[in-house]
């Protein structure tokens, strides 16, 4: 039985310790905003925050998480960075199919918390692990800059 703190709530899942967090979120807790794309930490669609840091939940076993706080796309809008990033994503109209965007937004939020005014190379470093098959990268870059400006002035 895994005990996890997800979006501020303690939850239990009857799974083995080696189960990646992704599948517990999606299949056990029904939090389907976090997406499966590759299963080998190559695409970033499954990105969540553990204590505020962006991690790939498809390779993070639930047994390794302990009491650390898990935040998913469903709750990121409750943080100032999350709300700013979501708004910027809509203002710039970043999204196409949208399947990767949960992960993109989680990576972008973690970046803005750590680096309030990211330049292009900061954005490259933080976002290169997130694949967008629709190719929304140009707008992702613009939206991150917009969010930074609205969040930190």
């Amino acid at each position: 039985m895994a005990r996890l703190i997800v979006n501020g709530q303690l939850r239990e899942a009857p799974v083995e310790d080696d189960t990646p967090l992704l599948w517990v979120l999606r299949d056990v807790f029904g939090l389907t905003g976090t997406k499966f794309g590759c299963g080998i930490a190559q695409c970033g669609a499954c990105t969540v925050h553990i204590d505020g840091k962006a991690v790939r939940s498809c390779v993070l076993s639930v047994g390794s998480i302990g009491n650390r706080a898990i935040t998913t796309i469903e709750a990121i809008g409750e943080t100032p960075a999350g709300a700013s990033v979501q708004k910027a994503w809509l203002d710039i109209e970043v999204v196409q199919c949208g399947y990767c965007q949960s992960g993109q937004i989680m990576s972008a939020c973690a970046l803005l918390v750590k680096t309030p005014h990211p330049d292009d190379s900061d954005i490259d470093a933080a976002m290169a692990g997130n694949i967008c098959r629709c190719g929304t990268y140009v707008r992702i870059r613009a939206a991150i800059k917009n969010a930074a400006a609205s969040l930190h002035g």
Binding site: A83, I131, C132, R133, C134, R141
Partner: protein, 732 residues
């Protein structure tokens, strides 16, 4: 810390429905089919039932209830191209509906009601949603509007022509009276829409042509949007599968003794051609599958490899093909001067939509539910009916948002396999492909071998023979599109190439790669043809001693002035002709594809090691009336990146009958740190709308190839680009 919550997916749904998700940023609409209630039922469970609660449904696309709630039923699948918004704009424009209040629903399966007017079946493909439905949806909106006005005029006892409509209201200006569409719904329902309702003059458009916010995006930034893979019907189990790694191979023997000890595994389903493991969650299913000891009967295809396939197609291209187009006298004209010949090779490609293939199915004795994101809703229903033996009307297909389509979801193999698995499972089962299974069991963009021969006269092309050799996807998917040896998609953008050439012939040689399934891939025929044509045009320009744009312009000006105008604009915006640093070049590609006219210029640097750095891409596009201009720009931006991925990395290779690539580590995608700046310039036009979704994917590879040619002088003739050739380690 709050108390422990329950943890089964079914029970969690109601919790999740109440979950407050932070700031609904952007003020977008809440789509009806994304409401928590609809979620529990399946996203569009209410679609396809009779529209009893909405009295006014003048056609299959519009419903208005007594409270005035307007629901638009969208026949085409939303896969990122913005079609829920653009088709809603067309309907709402002619309906004069208040756009901010419309709700959008995915259409249920029906070729009769929702068939694509170009295909005659319910299909989202060929970049034609707006083009195909332009007249039909305008008429649907205008017809509904006409009878709402007629109903109001009758109530007021005035002439309909004295009334106008605006924002879901009918207005009688002389007396200042107004009635809402909701208040008119009952009366309007008794009237029949006119057969040919008057359509608006485009100068009166209020919505069309404005960069409106998309209806589907607010829920795509907060985790609420539901794709096929997100379906969780009550009691659902989870499965993953393995088909024989060799195409056409069968299951031999399965030893499941280790799998039975994996926690969470419920069932092993071994069929003729695949094995699936059903479990409490996908991870347990995956572990269970990996623990199986499967012996495959690989069959004769285990001998096939890429080298053989290329030899085979090359040999096929030696023979003359079926003539798709012939102008003038190519044979004589090719003899008049030194003919130039080149051939171009394009590889197999997987689609790799970021949402892996998946399908959730519940088979019961008296019916079947299918939850999936598909580009072919009615075909999905038909295949489920065929597999189960149920009548089609007993199969409910709940179409969802697609996490990318790109042509992959034009085929129903995923549904077919999932229904066969679900027949063995008690209750609903969600079958999720691993990325590896998704990439290794695709319907691949076929390999093509293009042989072009031409002669020049007075600095222009005098004769042109283009022989296209490849699979006919149409012959399998839409046989009407393959006639007299010609695949109409296979020759698209080749028979209608934009240059004025007096003697021209296009041939098609159908050549099917043995047992490798081929399918439509974003850009389809034009992808292959525009790459070969535009690459060869640059080689001819060099032979003629001309600048690539100067060489193209006169031949375009005479035949395709809209494309010439696009090229002029792109050249100006890209700074064509301005000096560049060493090992850097600009390349151009022009195309008429999907009824859009596009010129693209790329600027790239090639380092001594053969690595390619794309600095900048500029496109100018005339796509006729731009229904939602921002969507058009977005589609080109994204499509160009899709095309760059193909040009720089995309290749599926075969060894021992198996696909050698498996995941994003060896089937690479362009990432943000490699993405150039992209400028798209939209040309205002009053012509009917063109298609846009696949154009960028078509434009990028030749524009990039020609920039590399300019930077290095190396005429690359195959995709993806070979760094060894560019570094001089290997001959081109």
């Amino acid at each position: 810390m709050t108390k422990t919550l329950i943890s089964s997916p079914h029970e969690t749904l109601s919790r999740r429905a109440m979950l407050r998700v932070g700031a609904a940023a952007g003020g977008g609409l809440l789509l009806a089919f994304h409401s928590p209630f609809a979620r529990a039922l399946g996203a569009n469970a209410n679609v396809g039932r009779q529209f009893a609660s909405e009295p006014f449904s003048p056609n299959a696309f519009i419903r208005i209830d007594r409270a005035g709630k307007t629901t638009l039923v969208i026949p085409q699948a939303e896969m990122g191209q913005g079609v829920y918004t653009s088709l809603s704009m067309i309907l709402a424009e002619e309906l004069d509906a208040a756009f901010e209040t419309v709700a959008v629903e995915a259409a249920p399966p029906s070729d009769a009601l929702y068939g694509n007017p170009i295909f005659g079946i319910q299909a989202t493909g060929n970049s034609n949603s707006v083009r195909a439905f332009w007249n039909k949806l305008r008429a649907a909106g205008a017809g509904a509007r006409a009878i709402l006005i007629a109903a109001a005029a009758a109530r007021w006892k005035v002439l309909p022509t004295s009334c106008t409509a605006e924002n879901s209201l009918v207005i009688h200006a002389p007396t200042g009276r107004k009635l809402s569409y909701g208040a008119l719904a009952d009366a309007a329902a008794k009237l029949t829409p006119p057969a040919n309702p008057p359509l608006k003059d485009p100068k009166d458009f209020k919505l069309i042509g404005k960069p409106l916010k998309r209806l589907d995006t607010p829920n795509k930034v907060n985790g609420k949007a539901l794709y096929g893979i997100d379906m969780l019907p009550a009691g659902v189990k989870f499965a993953t599968l393995a088909a024989c790694p060799v195409f056409g191979g069968k299951v031999g023997h399965v030893d499941d003794s280790r799998t039975r000890t994996v926690a969470g595994v419920r069932q092993i389903v071994a069929l003729d051609d695949l094995v699936a493991v059903v479990a409490d969650h996908v991870w347990a299913a995956k572990k269970g599958l990996e623990a199986l000891d499967i012996t495959w009967n690989e069959g004769p295809n285990a001998r096939i490899d890429s080298a053989f396939l290329w030899q085979d197609i090359k040999a096929a291209s030696e023979q003359a093909g079926a003539v798709a187009k012939s102008i003038g006298d190519v044979q004589s004209a090719l003899k008049d001067a030194d003919a130039v010949e080149a051939h171009y090779e394009l590889p197999f490609l997987a689609h790799a939509p970021l949402e892996p293939m998946n399908c959730t199915v519940h088979v019961r004795p008296d019916g079947c539910d299918v939850w999936v994101g598909t580009q072919v809703c009615a075909r999905t229903q038909a295949i489920a009916a065929k597999v189960t033996g149920l009548p089609p009307e007993k199969v409910a297909v709940h179409n969802q948002l697609l996490g990318g389509g790109f042509g992959r979801r034009l085929d129903v193999d995923g549904t077919e396999k999932s229904v066969r698995i679900a027949q063995r499972v008690d209750g609903p089962v969600k079958v999720v492909w691993t990325r590896e299974e998704d990439i290794q069991h695709d319907y691949y963009r076929p390999i093509y071998y293009d042989r072009i021969t031409a002669t020049l006269k007075d600095g222009e092309i005098n004769a042109w023979n283009d022989r296209i050799t490849g699979s006919s996807v149409m012959a399998r998917w839409f046989p009407l599109g393959y006639q007299h040896g010609v695949d109409i998609d296979g020759v698209d953008s080749a028979i209608d190439e934009p240059y004025d050439i007096p003697n021209m012939r296009v041939e098609f040689v159908r050549h099917e790669p043995p047992e490798i399934p081929t399918g439509f891939w974003r850009g389809v025929g034009p992808n292959n043809n525009v790459f070969a044509i535009e690459s060869f045009i640059d080689e001819l320009a060099r032979k003629a001693g001309k600048d690539p744009i100067d060489f193209r312009l006169p031949m375009l000006a005479r035949k395709t002035p809209r494309l010439k105008a696009a090229l002029d604009l792109a050249a100006q915006k890209a700074g064509w002709g301005k000096p560049l640093p060493p090992r850097t070049g600009r390349g151009v590609a022009v195309q008429v594809s999907f009824a859009s006219f596009i010129a693209t210029i790329s600027e790239v640097e090639v380092d001594p090691d053969g690595e390619v750095f794309v600095h900048r891409i500029t496109s100018a596009v005339d796509t006729g009336i731009a229904v939602n201009p921002d969507t058009i720009v977005a589609q080109l931006q994204g499509g160009l990146i899709f095309g760059l991925t193909a040009a720089l990395y995309g290749e599926i290779t075969i060894a021992n009958g198996r696909v050698q690539q498996s995941n994003f580590n060896d089937y690479r995608m362009l990432r943000i740190d490699q993405t150039p700046s992209i400028d798209v310039h939209l040309i205002r036009s009053g012509e009917p709308p063109g298609g846009i979704g696949e154009t960028g994917a078509t434009a990028a590879p030749p524009a990039l190839r020609n920039a590399i040619y300019a930077a290095t002088g190396i005429p690359l003739r195959r995709l993806p680009f070979d760094r060894d050739v560019l570094a001089g380690r290997k001959a081109s």
